[in-house]
Amino acid sequence: MSGTDYDLVIIGAGPAGLAAALYAGRARLSVLLLEKAAPGGQILVTDWIENYPGFPEGISGTDLMMHMVAQVNRFGVDIQTGEVISMDLTGQVKRLELNDKTITAKTVIIASGSSPSKLGIPGENRYLGRGVSTCATCDGPFFKDSVIVAVGGGDTAVQESLYLTRFAKKIFLIHRRDQLRAVKLLQERVKNNDKVEIIWDSTITEIKGGAEGVEAVTVKNLKTGVESDLAAEGCFVWVGTIPNTEFAVGHVELDEKGFIITNGRMQTSIPGVYAAGDVRNTPLRQVVTAVGDGAIAANEAMHFIENM
């Protein structure tokens, strides 16, 4: 086939993309790793990762990202800032339109990850950055001795709420069910922490504020339908994630929530195009699963190129 700019283009430099780049770089493919913002993905906003093997005391998300980037840099991978606007994946040569240029490749790994979901309630966008947040490590220190409302019941909601106890005097954790989804160890920690009070069977319906930012949050009990206002200066929202797949719509098969459908070899509906990490229809979205996906995808891309 005619020449392409790269053997492999990886879209997204979170853990999945960085692991794929590491494997592809060591396989001596010519690799471009594209990142629209900054390498790291969602681990950048994670205060402490204690379920990634090899770090007995745990490691901060930022440090883990820096280690991963440094490791990739050893193997000649080209890391560039760029955003994919549209794609043509139908031919043997895959064509990616970026914001500032067009690039071609023999294979593509989509590892664009996911972003925090929004609640879609009044006040959420208006007070973003002025009390509404999804990043405890970024914004927690602004809430010294404050009251915070946190929404969610999964690992992220519980872990990050515990982190906020370093700063806030009180945290109300609002969860729509009568038990948490978070892993048992985190459940134990949160139940033993006097600063966190869990409000069960509830959600929030509005974030209210003034010139200074958030002032109160309206909490609705889903069983009784009763609404009440809770005075708080902060509102942290951790209610799951949405896939970053706008640019992939119509190009590869997506599931009903927009995640890319793959098989166990990370193959998408298009030959030579793979997906890895949070962006695919995986049962578990963790650093440890993302890096495994990335390695498999890179290995498959390598075999695909060999058999061309």
Binding site: E83, L128, C138, P141
Partner: protein, 108 residues
Amino acid sequence: MAEGIKEISDATFDAEVLKSEIPVLVDFWAPWCGPCKAIGPILEEINRNFEGKLKIVKCNVDDNPSSPSNYGIRAIPTLIFFKGGEKVEQIVGMVEKSKLEQTIKNNL
């Protein structure tokens, strides 16, 4: 980090930002903020690309509590674009390089 990008303080905010002859982008950051570190290289690149047309400065919110408080900042990274001493744009959180460049071009 942030070689080439000047660090300002509460004491120098007025002179460096509000009285600047050219537009200023202030990066409110802190050492404990992962995304702040991550956008560092993007800001340095933009600083080079817009040299002479735009001034980028950094303000450590831990050491300088007044400036962020004056602008109601409760999240970092927050980037505020100043023109003629007035705030014209505010960007909260991680931002794509292309989006940031567009915002700058729209406001220069």
